[in-house]
C-alpha cells in the first residue's frame, strides 16, 4: 500500500528524461506521438462538442475495434493501409447505422448509440481474443495503447530519409489531414456547427459535413489507436475541446486552446507516468480531465471561482448599501445617530456580520464611528446613500404609478430593486416618470449628483 505512490524525485522524473541521446529520443517520440494524437483528436472533438455529438466520439472509438481487428487479421500488420480502410469504413458505418436505427424505429438516439457501438465493440473483443495466438494485438493494447513502446518501433523510411517511428509518422499525416481540412473548409464547418439552418440555406449540405466529419473522426481514432488505445481516445477527443469551450466563444480561439491543451497533456502525462511508473496513455487522460476540472474552477469568465467571487461581491455590496440606506434614513428623519447594535438589528444581520459591514463602510470613508459606538455618514457616504435612496424612491414611484401596487407593498419590492440599476437607466426612469421630487409616501427624492 505504501509503495502505491513512489517518492517524487525531480531529477528522475524531469531531468533524466531529457539528458542523454537515448533518453531524449524516447521522451521526444512519446511526447510527440501523444501530442499529435491529442491535437488531431482535439480539433475534431471541438466540432463534435459544438454540434452536441460528443458521445458519437465515444461510440466510434469503440466501434472501430472490429474493423481494426479484421484488417489486422487479414494483413497481419498494425500499420497498414487495409487497417485504416477497414477501421474508417466501420467508423462511418457506425455513424450511419446509429442514425438509421433511431430514424427508422422508435428507439431513441442515445439508446441507438448504446446498442450499436457496444455490440460492435463486443464483436471486436471477441475477434481479438479468438485470434490472440495468431497475431500480436492484445486486449491491453485495445484499452490503453502502447505509447511507451513507440520509440522502439522501426523508423519509417521516406525517400531514403529516416523519419520517426512509424506510428508517429502516421499520426503526423493524420494531424496534417485534420489541420488541412479545417483550414480549407473553415467557413462551412464554422457555419454548419453554429447555425445548421443558415448553412443549409447557404448551400452547405448538412449530410456532407456530417459524414465528412465522421470520416475524419474515424481516421483520427484509428491513427490514435496505436498511441492511446480504443477507449482512451475519447479523453483526447473531448477533454481539449470542452476545456477550450470554457474559455472562449470563438471557434478559432477554441481550436488553438484545444491544441495547446493536447500538447500540455502529452508532456505532463509522460512525466506523470514516469513518476508513477504506470500507463502513459492513462496518465495523459487523467491530465486532460484534470485540466478540464481545473478550468471549470478557474476559468475567468465561466469558472466556478469567478462566479463565486461575483456572487460574494454582490452580497457585500447589497449589505453595504442597506447599511448606508438605514443610516441615511435615520439622519433624514433627524433622529439620534444610530448605535451600531440597533443598526444591526434594523438590517436583520448578526452583530458580527454587521460589524464587518461597518468596517468596510469606514474603510471606504463613507461612515465614521465615535467612541460611544454610534455611526454617522461622512460627506461621501451621504452622497452615495442619496443616490441609493433616489433609486429606491424612483422605483417606488414607478411601482405605484405604473404597476399600481398598494402603498404598503412598495417598500419591500423597491428595497430589492434598488441595488440593480445603473445611473443611466435611473435617469431614464426618472425622465419617464416626469422627474418627480417626492415619492408616493411623500418623502423627498434626492437629486441626481
Amino acid at each position: 500500500m505504501n509503495d502505491l505512490i513512489p517518492p517524487f524525485e525531480w531529477t528522475r522524473v524531469f531531468v533524466d528524461q531529457w539528458t542523454g541521446a537515448a533518453n531524449i529520443d524516447a521522451s521526444f517520440w512519446v511526447v510527440a506521438t501523444g501530442a499529435l494524437a491529442a491535437i488531431s483528436c482535439g480539433i475534431v472533438g471541438c466540432f463534435l462538442i459544438l454540434r452536441g455529438m460528443a458521445m458519437i466520439g465515444d461510440a466510434v472509438s469503440h466501434a472501430v475495434l472490429p474493423g481494426i481487428a479484421a484488417a489486422f487479421l487479414l494483413s497481419g500488420s498494425r500499420a497498414s493501409f487495409p487497417m485504416f480502410l477497414g477501421a474508417a469504413v466501420v467508423g462511418v458505418l457506425t455513424a450511419a447505422l446509429i442514425e438509421a436505427v433511431y430514424k427508422s424505429s422508435r428507439i431513441k438516439a442515445d439508446a441507438s448509440m448504446g446498442v450499436v457501438f457496444t455490440a460492435l465493440f463486443a464483436f471486436g473483443v471477441l475477434l481479438i481474443s479468438l485470434m490472440a495466438d495468431k497475431v500480436d494485438l492484445d486486449q491491453e493494447c485495445v484499452l490503453y495503447g502502447e505509447i511507451a513502446f513507440v520509440p522502439f518501433e522501426a523508423r519509417a523510411e521516406w525517400f531514403g530519409w529516416t523519419a520517426g517511428p512509424e506510428s508517429t509518422m502516421i499520426l503526423l499525416c493524420a494531424a496534417l489531414v485534420v489541420i488541412g481540412g479545417v483550414v480549407l473548409f473553415y467557413r462551412p464547418l464554422l457555419i454548419s456547427s453554429f447555425d445548421p439552418q443558415l448553412a443549409t440555406s447557404m448551400g452547405v449540405s448538412a449530410a456532407v459535413v456530417h459524414y465528412g466529419l465522421m470520416t475524419v473522426l474515424s481516421l483520427t481514432v484509428v491513427c490514435s489507436f496505436e498511441a492511446v488505445g480504443a477507449i482512451l481516445v475519447i479523453a483526447m477527443l473531448i477533454a481539449p475541446g470542452a476545456t477550450a469551450y470554457l474559455f472562449t466563444d470563438r471557434l478559432s480561439t477554441m481550436l488553438w486552446i484545444s491544441a495547446g491543451h493536447g500538447l500540455f497533456c502529452a508532456l505532463a502525462g509522460w512525466h506523470l507516468s514516469v513518476w508513477l511508473d504506470c500507463s502513459t496513455a492513462g496518465a495523459m487522460a487523467v491530465v486532460g480531465a484534470g485540466l478540464f476540472f481545473t478550468a471549470l474552477v478557474l476559468s475567468p469568465r465561466h469558472g466556478l471561482l469567478s462566479r463565486l467571487t461575483r456572487r460574494v461581491q454582490l452580497t457585500r455590496r447589497v449589505a453595504e448599501e442597506n447599511a448606508l440606506g438605514a443610516l441615511y434614513r435615520s439622519q433624514e428623519e433627524g433622529r439620534e445617530p444610530l448605535a451600531s447594535a440597533s443598526l444591526a438589528e434594523r438590517l436583520g444581520a448578526s452583530a458580527g456580520g454587521a460589524m464587518r459591514v461597518f468596517k468596510r463602510l469606514r474603510r471606504r470613508g463613507w461612515a465614521v464611528q465615535d467612541g460611544a459606538g454610534t455611526l454617522a455618514l461622512t460627506e461621501a457616504g451621504m452622497g452615495r446613500a442619496a443616490q441609493l435612496l433616489r433609486a429606491h424612491r424612483l422605483w417606488e414611484t414607478l411601482l405605484s404609478n405604473e404597476v399600481g401596487l398598494p402603498d404598503d407593498h412598495l417598500h419591500s419590492a423597491a428595497h430589492l430593486l434598488e441595488h440593480y440599476i445603473d445611473k443611466e437607466t435611473l435617469e431614464a426612469l426618472s425622465n419617464t416618470l416626469g422627474n418627480p421630487s417626492v415619492d408616493p409616501h411623500g418623502r423627498p427624492i434626492p437629486k441626481a449628483d
Binding site: D58, T118, I231, L232, C278
Partner: protein, 432 residues
C-alpha cells in the same frame, strides 16, 4: 405476481448452485465443443454453475434496471458508470490486497458516486453540455483506473496479480462463490426495490412533471436509480467486464422497447431477454478456449435486438414495411375494382390480381368484367368513398375538389365499423 416468483426462483437456483459448489473439483478445459456442451448442460461443474447462474442474474438485474434508463433517455449513463467505477475497483483491490468482492464493491460505489457528482457539477455549473461532461468523466475516471491498475501490477507486493484483466472484459468462469453471493444479493435488493416502488419509478420514467405533481420525490428516485445502476455495474464487472456492462443495460431494454408499449411488460421482457442472453453467452463461452463471456453475452443480446428490430409485430422495420406494402396492394386492388365498376380499363397487373382473387373474369379480349362477388365489393367501396366525401365536405368543411383528392387515399383505410358509424352520423345529420 410474476416478477416476484421470478425473483424467488432465481434466488433458489443460486442457493442450490452454491450448496453444491464446494464438493466439485475445478474443471479442466479440454475436449471438443460437443463434450463441452454436454458438460455445460449437465451442470455438474461448480464453475459452470456459478458462471451460468451469475450470467443469468446479471442479465436479469441489468435488463430490469435498463428498462428505466432507456425509457428516460439516459442510456449512455450506463456506459459512463461502467467506465467510471474502474478507479474504485482498483482502490478496493489495493485496500483488500486481493480480489475480495466487499472492498471492491465499496470502492466502486464510491467511484460511481464521485463520477455522478462530477458529471452533475460539470453540467450544472458550466456551459458544457451533458454529453461532453459524460465523455470527460468517463475518460478521466477510466484513465485514472488504468493508471492505478498498471501501477498495482508493477508494485512488488502485488506482483503479477492475474485476474485484473477480467475486470476489463469479463469472464464468468472466473467468478468465485463470493462474487456470486454479492451479485445475487445486489440483484435481490434491486429487484425488491423495483417491485416495491414500481409505480413511482414508472411515473418518474414517463413524466417527471406529472410524477412531481402527485407528490413523488423525483430527485430521490433519480438518485435511487443511479445508486442501483452503480451497484449493478459493479457486481456485473466480474462476468461482463467494465466495458460491456453498459451493453447489457441498454440492449435488452431496447429490444423489449421494440416489442411492447407497457412498462411492466417492458421491465419483465427486458429482464427475460437479459437472462437469456446471459445464459447463452456463458454457454457459448464454455464451448471453447479463448471465448470471453462478456462479448458473447452482448452479441447474443444484439442478435435478439436485430431480430426485434426487423420482425417485432408492431414496431419492426420489416413488419412495418410489409404492412405498408399490403396496404398499398389493397389500395391498388380497390382502385381497380372501382375503375371496372365505372366501366374503365385497368392495368394488366391489377387485372390479373383481380382475376386471381375471383373478383373479375375475362370478358373476351383484354376486357374484364366483374364477377358477382367483385361487383358487391366494388359497390361497397364506392359507397364508402361517397360517405367519406360527404363526411369531409359536411363535417370537416373541406371543398369538394380537395375532398376527392383526400378520399382517394383514405377510403382504403376505413374499416367497416368506422364506415357504419359514419353512415349513422350522416343519416342523423340528414334527418335533422
Amino acid at each position: 405476481m410474476r416478477p416476484r416468483r421470478l425473483a424467488v426462483g432465481a434466488g433458489l437456483w443460486t442457493a442450490a448452485a452454491l450448496a453444491r459448489a464446494e464438493r466439485i473439483a475445478d474443471m479442466d478445459i479440454g475436449g471438443g465443443w460437443l463434450d463441452q456442451a454436454y458438460r455445460f448442460l449437465q451442470m455438474s461443474d461448480a464453475s459452470v454453475r456459478i458462471g451460468a447462474v451469475g450470467s443469468i442474474l446479471l442479465g436479469v438485474l441489468c435488463g430490469a434496471l435498463g428498462s428505466f434508463i432507456v425509457l428516460r433517455g439516459l442510456s449512455l449513463i450506463g456506459d459512463t458508470l461502467g467506465h467510471a467505477v474502474l478507479p474504485g475497483v482498483a482502490v478496493g483491490f489495493l485496500a483488500a490486497g486481493a480480489k475480495a468482492p466487499g472492498p471492491i464493491f465499496i470502492g466502486a460505489m464510491a467511484a460511481g458516486a464521485a463520477a455522478a457528482g462530477c458529471m452533475g457539477v460539470a453540467t450544472r455549473y458550466s456551459r458544457v453540455k451533458p454529453d461532453a461532461a459524460m465523455g470527460i468523466v468517463l475518460s478521466g475516471f477510466f484513465g485514472l483506473g488504468i493508471v492505478l491498475l498498471t501501477r498495482i501490477q508493477k508494485m512488488p507486493s502485488f506482483g503479477n496479480q492475474s485476474g485484473l484483466d477480467n475486470f476489463l472484459f469479463g469472464q464468468a468462469a472466473a467468478m468465485s462463490v463470493g462474487d456470486l453471493v454479492w451479485l445475487a444479493s445486489v440483484a435481490a435488493l434491486c429487484l425488491a426495490v423495483i417491485l416495491v416502488f414500481f409505480k413511482q419509478f414508472a411515473a418518474v420514467s414517463f413524466d417527471e412533471i406529472y410524477a412531481h405533481s402527485i407528490g413523488i420525490p423525483i430527485r430521490l428516485f433519480h438518485w435511487l436509480l443511479m445508486c442501483m445502476l452503480t451497484a449493478a455495474v459493479v457486481v456485473s464487472i466480474q462476468a461482463a467486464g467494465v466495458v460491456l456492462v453498459s451493453a447489457m443495460l441498454v440492449i435488452p431494454a431496447s429490444t423489449a422497447y421494440l416489442l411492447t408499449d407497457r412498462l411492466p411488460h417492458l421491465t419483465l421482457m427486458s429482464a427475460a431477454i437479459g437472462a437469456f442472453s446471459g445464459l447463452m453467452g456463458s454457454f457459448i463461452s464454455f464451448l471453447g478456449p479463448s471465448l470471453p463471456t462478456g462479448p458473447l453475452m452482448v452479441l447474443c443480446a444484439a442478435f435478439l435486438f436485430a431480430l426485434a428490430y426487423g420482425f417485432s409485430p408492431r414496431h419492426g422495420v420489416l413488419t412495418r414495411m410489409m404492412r405498408r406494402r399490403s396496404n398499398r396492394k389493397r389500395a391498388a386492388l380497390e382502385d381497380a375494382l372501382r375503375e371496372l365498376l365505372k366501366g374503365g380499363a385497368v392495368e394488366p397487373r391489377a387485372g390479373a390480381e383481380l382475376v386471381r382473387q375471383g373478383l373479375a373474369q375475362s370478358g373476351g379480349g383484354r376486357n374484364l368484367i366483374l364477377t358477382k362477388e367483385g361487383h358487391a365489393r366494388a359497390e361497397r367501396i364506392r359507397r364508402n368513398r361517397e360517405l367519406w366525401e360527404l363526411y369531409l365536405t359536411r363535417e370537416a368543411e373541406i371543398a369538394l375538389d380537395h375532398a376527392q383528392e383526400d378520399s382517394e387515399e383514405i377510403e382504403h383505410l376505413l374499416g367497416t365499423e368506422i364506415v357504419q358509424r359514419l353512415e349513422e352520423e350522416l343519416e342523423k345529420g340528414r334527418a335533422e
